[in-house]
């Protein structure tokens, strides 16, 4: 009996030790970013790092707001991500509804194509996408960038949306049909209000994913006034001699709002992510 108890005790000690180790790995870098953003560079460049900033300095944030560039990048990114999220939502509501409700033979083919295109590395198509967009005069524009990032997210978002539509009983539409309500009106008036959780999941997911985009921006957009955040961070602030307070302040401003967005919509996001992956 005693041995069993000892085994259980050591098991649970092991368990909590593992939790502490893994969570330290996952969360400490985030703390370190916050702490460094509040430290003067002279404090950050000591041979023995300080765990807490000894003299809290807002210098990094002040510089970012004053230099004008950072806010431009930030605003560009908000515009691109928001626009992309809206477009992705509209497209995936339409396509997701079609895939969930109408079972035609070519649906399978379409789904296969979608998952195939989801697999493709972005760079593999960027080279020729760049040449195509250039011929259309869409390189170095936000429109070209938005359409390109939409295309990368649409395949997953469509299947995500379809899984939400699958959860809504078909009887509703049948009833609406009997009442003489057309297909389009049924979709907009009856189904759309029920799909709000799915819409939230898709829009937040696509906002976060397009906020994360780096490759499209860096190849398709060249003028600094149109740069997005990731691109601006990499190209402006990460140089030969790095101002770590500034970089960490910029990183904090780029990351923290997304963390809050995620926490706020967590319920929908997690449900969507799990449905999108585990079901398959």
């Amino acid at each position: 009996m005693n041995r069993q108890k000892a085994a259980r005790l050591s098991g649970s000690i092991l368990k909590y030790a593992a939790i502490i180790l893994l969570f330290a790995f996952l969360l400490f870098p985030v703390y370190w970013m916050l702490a460094t953003s509040l430290k003067m560079n002279t404090e950050s460049s000591r041979m023995v790092p300080t765990l807490f900033p000894q003299a809290v300095s807002w210098e990094g944030y002040k510089t970012l707001f004053d230099d004008g560039k950072f806010l431009v990048y930030y605003w560009n990114n908000v515009v691109v991500s928001a626009l992309a999220a809206v477009i992705i939502c509209v497209i995936s509501v339409m396509a997701g509804y079609a895939l969930s409700r109408f079972h035609f033979r070519w649906n399978v083919l379409l789904l296969a194509t979608f998952s195939f295109s989801q697999m493709m590395p972005v760079i593999s198509r960027l080279i020729s996408l760049y040449t195509i967009l250039r011929r259309l005069g869409l390189t170095d524009t936000h429109l070209g960038l938005v359409l390109a990032v939409c295309a990368t997210q649409v395949p997953f978002c469509v299947s995500l949306m379809a899984s939400f539509f699958d959860g809504i009983p078909k009887d509703l539409e049948e009833a609406a049909w009997v009442d003489g309500c057309g297909r389009t009106r049924t979709l907009v008036r009856i189904i759309l209000p029920l799909i709000v959780p799915g819409l939230l999941a898709v829009s937040v997911y696509s906002f976060l994913m397009t906020w994360d985009d780096y490759l499209h921006a860096i190849t398709l957009v060249r003028s600094p006034s149109l740069w997005t955040l990731s691109q601006g961070l990499k190209l402006t602030y990460l140089g030969e001699v790095s101002d770590w307070q500034l970089i960490n302040a910029a990183s904090t401003l780029g990351a923290v709002p997304m963390i809050f967005v995620f926490f706020f919509f967590q319920k929908y996001m997690v449900r969507g992510l799990v449905a999108g992956a585990v079901k398959g």
């Binding site: 079609a98 593999s124 020729s128 040449t131």
Partner: protein
């Protein structure tokens, strides 16, 4: 009985109308994916067999067939081989470690430790942080001389190694990227595995425990077989994700030092957008696509065979 034919006749135009409606709904998605994904992929495979450089782009002249010139040139320079091995090494190590650590974390969180709900949501923070910012964050930790890692290494070696820069060494640089990739990817995989774990019936696990099956026996013979499809999906996702990895390399190493982290992603980007040799870049991505397709296919075949 008499109603049946009329119903069918009424149903037929409705079905045709549905088909049209369905097509209209699908059209934007199909157009976008065709124009921005499928055509570029086909186009870039075709481009890889031609000499296509900056001049072709500015003058709008099509590339000229060059007898596999892009491939042979990359092969003779040894760039292609080293990039292929590096990519395969990076992907296999990262995927194996991500799976091991995520599975362990999911198993632990599944036992409902204190604060499990809170842990489960703060766990997702690295996943939400944009990849470039993740790269910046780790490059500050790795920074030599002021980074945290250098300090930790000097403490653990009691002052013998005082200038450890993980990204400066040819053999260690890839590990720096692997650690950052793990940090970014463990959260999502843990979340998905945890969700899959919740579908494993409790009574079977309990019955096995009563029969005297130990923890690892239950894990290998019950839990993992039940989670097979979730594991297959999440691991394939992880393989694809790491094959595609570029932003971390771009922010952490840029392919260096001395090409020690030049994976296929980095090589193709450099060929196309740094050297402006689009044909050559397309050749790298074609090889890359082929390898990725083979790996994912093999993984799925192996997994399915074991299942049956």
């Amino acid at each position: 009985m008499r109603n049946a034919p009329s119903l069918r006749r009424a149903g037929s135009p409705r079905r045709r109308k549905d088909l049209l409606f369905c097509l209209v709904l699908l059209l934007p998605a199909i157009l976008l994916c065709t124009a921005f994904i499928l055509i570029p992929i086909v186009d870039s495979v075709a481009m890889s067999f031609t000499g296509y450089k900056l001049a072709n782009l500015t003058k709008g002249t099509p590339g000229v067939w060059n007898d596999f010139g892009n491939y042979t040139r990359l092969w003779r320079a040894g760039k292609l081989q080293s990039a292929v091995w590096l990519t395969l090494g990076f992907v296999s190590i990262t995927v194996a470690l991500t799976f091991l650590l995520s599975m362990s974390l999911a198993l632990i969180l599944n036992t409902d430790p204190k604060g499990a709900r809170m842990l489960r949501s703060v766990m997702m923070i690295p996943w939400v942080i944009p990849t470039v910012i993740a790269g910046l964050l780790w490059s500050w930790i790795y920074a030599n001389p002021y980074g945290l890692l250098r300090y930790l290494v000097s403490v653990f070696t009691s002052g013998r190694v005082t200038d450890f820069g993980i990204l400066n060494g040819k053999s260690t640089a890839i590990w720096g990227v692997i650690i950052a990739a793990l940090w970014k990817q463990i959260p999502l995989m843990t979340l998905l595995l945890l969700a899959g774990m919740q579908n494993v019936p409790d009574d079977i696990l309990e019955a096995a425990q009563i029969d005297g099956a130990g923890y690892f026996t239950r894990l290998i013979h019950i839990l993992i077989p039940y989670m097979r499809s979730v594991i297959a999906v999440t691991v394939s996702m992880c393989i694809i994700e790491n094959f595609k990895q570029y932003p971390l390399f771009a922010t952490l190493t840029n392919g260096g030092p001395m090409g020690a982290t030049t994976t296929l992603a980095v090589l193709s980007y450099d060929e196309a957008f740094v050297n402006y040799n689009y044909g050559s870049g397309a050749a790298v991505t074609t090889v890359w696509l082929a390898i990725m397709a083979v790996v994912v296919l093999l993984f799925n075949l192996a997994f399915r065979r074991r299942q049956s």
